[in-house]
């Protein structure tokens, strides 16, 4: 894999998991060929690679839909620059829906 890869775990909760085959945890290996990965790129990647339908229930304008909380290593992404946060190896990213019915 060219210049190596980035290993992270993505977790879905609060009903968001039903959009991803009911799996709560996804271990991802992202190629580092085209530069670094920020959360914006990760969200777009999840939308294109992990979702077959109902993308609008997860993504809205390059970010997640309002009402879905994002935590990276137990820290609110608002404190990390939101979509600009650059992912590091071993990061635990949580997407938790607070909306009714997921």
């Amino acid at each position: 894999m060219g210049s190596g890869s980035l290993k992270i775990s993505v977790h879905f909760g609060g009903g968001a998991e039903i959009l991803f085959d009911n799996l709560k945890q996804h271990d991802l290996e992202l190629p580092l060929d085209n530069g670094t990965w920020n959360l914006k790129r990760l969200i777009a990647w999840i939308r294109d690679n992990k979702m077959k339908s109902k993308q609008e229930l997860f993504v809205k304008d390059d970010s997640v839909r309002p009402g879905i909380l994002v935590l990276v290593n137990d820290t609110d992404w608002d404190l990390l620059g939101q979509t600009d946060y650059e992912l590091c190896d071993g990061d635990q990213v949580h997407f938790i829906s607070t909306l009714h019915g997921g």
Binding site: G13, G14, L57
Partner: protein
């Protein structure tokens, strides 16, 4: 509108301030790195957030003076959501606290309502959900019960021995199938849930029921309630305590917590992972119901203007309902349909008559058809319950307690009109 500065509502909602810098310290202890932002710009670390939530929870219950020196049994409505878990955690900590830490004298019991029948879940799936609920609640050490959502009275049983019966489910399913739109279905579901909780609380001898409504869901309830014609009962449905049911009081101790606060608290305080139970709203389109649309509207607006929820919620607190002598036969809220002459209600009814070409509640003479039942029923309902009763195809499917209440109210008003001339009227 409700500002104290006297600017006559000219101040607009404040847009989102810039994000804080990386490495911001907790605003309370000022030593640890902040891990969460609440409200607009308040950054807290894990420990301070947990302390803050516990303090807030006990302050709300303390202020209400509901718990005194004697232990009171409390039924906690548990849906499996992060908010429910947060409520359970806060309550269990408050019960276990030493007397110096504002201990709450409560004896909690957990109840889970199984609504699987409505979504066509298989028996196996429903029992699996119950098992999951049992697993996450077991750690708290409180007795847990389960009850199926039902139109008839049903008894809560220990969640470990829970089972359900197909024939009672059929009645519930045909009731919901006869309702045409999701908006009314959700509204109906809400009322049935309240009735189930109240009857379970009576059977389990709990004078109190705690709901895990957070401020975000309260704001959604206020705005959607207005659009559903629930004006008269909004203050009861969104306030801290709701005493419509005679022997049972409903409490919403999390109504000062935003959904983010409650969810993050449940994660930081080490609660088990929430159980996701599908609902009528799951995977539904944004415009499938008024409730869903209102939620999307508020949550989207909140994202840009972080004071949205608190503004709606504070405005909602100013509502109050005028008590009426006769409660609505369904929701037990104040009957707002009593004053008919020259009211907006009369105008609405008139315009309905014109557009449908008939009087919707006219009974067909002496025959005992469902229209007659409907006309009896509708007269004893509040405005928003009337909307539900009209959308139900066969009113006989409604809970028997509701029909009983309606009959009782009807014969009472008949008797009252018969003896009217012997009564001293208020005007004299």
């Amino acid at each position: 509108m409700c500002s104290t500065g006297g600017d006559d509502g000219e101040t607009l909602l404040n847009p989102k301030p810039p994000l804080p810098e990386k490495g911001t310290l907790c605003r309370k202890c000022k030593t640890s790195k902040a891990q969460v932002i609440l409200q607009i710009k308040d950054a807290y670390c894990k420990e301070c957030l947990i302390a803050l939530c516990n303090h807030k929870f006990r302050a709300i219950l303390g202020k209400s003076r509901i718990f005194g020196n004697e232990q009171k049994s409390v039924l906690v409505a548990f849906s499996g959501s992060a908010s429910s878990l947060a409520l359970l955690k806060l309550l269990s900590d408050a019960v276990a606290a030493g007397p110096s830490h504002r201990r709450i004298m409560a004896c909690p019991k957990i109840i889970y309502i199984d609504e699987g029948a409505l979504l066509g879940m298989s028996a196996e799936e429903r029992l699996t959900k119950c098992k999951e609920i049992l697993e996450v609640t077991a750690g708290f050490g409180f007795p847990a019960y389960a009850v199926p959502l039902n139109v008839q009275e049903s008894s809560p049983v220990d969640i470990r021995n829970y089972e359900f019966h197909g024939n009672t489910d059929d009645k519930l399913i045909s009731l919901f199938e006869s309702v045409s739109d999701t908006t009314s279905k959700l509204d109906l579901l809400n009322r049935l849930r309240c009735n189930v909780l109240s009857s379970c609380a009576q059977q389990l001898k709990s004078p109190l029921v705690m709901l895990a409504d957070n401020s975000t869901s309260v704001a959604v309830k206020i705005l959607s309630g207005v659009s559903l014609g629930k004006g008269a009962s909004i203050s009861l449905e969104t306030g801290f305590s709701d005493s419509r049911h005679s022997d049972v009081t409903f409490l919403r101790p999390l109504r000062d917590f935003t959904s983010k606060e409650a969810t993050i608290f449940s994660i930081f305080s080490g609660c088990p992972k929430p159980v996701f139970v599908p609902s009528l709203l799951t995977l539904s389109k944004m415009d499938s119901s008024i409730q869903r649309l209102t939620e999307a509207f508020i949550v989207n607006l909140q994202n840009e203007f972080p004071s949205t929820v608190s503004t709606i919620y504070r405005t909602g607190e100013k509502f109050c309902s005028t008590p009426s002598n006769q409660p609505c036969a369904f929701c037990l809220g104040p009957l707002d349909t009593m004053h008919k002459s020259c009211s907006a209600l009369e105008a609405t009814d008139f315009s309905r008559e014109l557009s449908t070409g008939k009087k919707p509640e006219s009974s067909c003479g002496s025959c005992d058809c469902k229209n007659k039942l409907r006309s009896t029923l509708v007269q004893t309902l509040c405005y928003s319950c009337r909307l539900i009763a009209r959308s139900v195809d066969n009113p006989e499917l409604l809970p028997s307690t509701v029909l009983e209440n309606a009959r009782e109210a009807q014969s009472f008003s008949k008797m009252k009109s018969q003896i009217a001339e012997f009564l001293i009227s208020e005007g004299e």
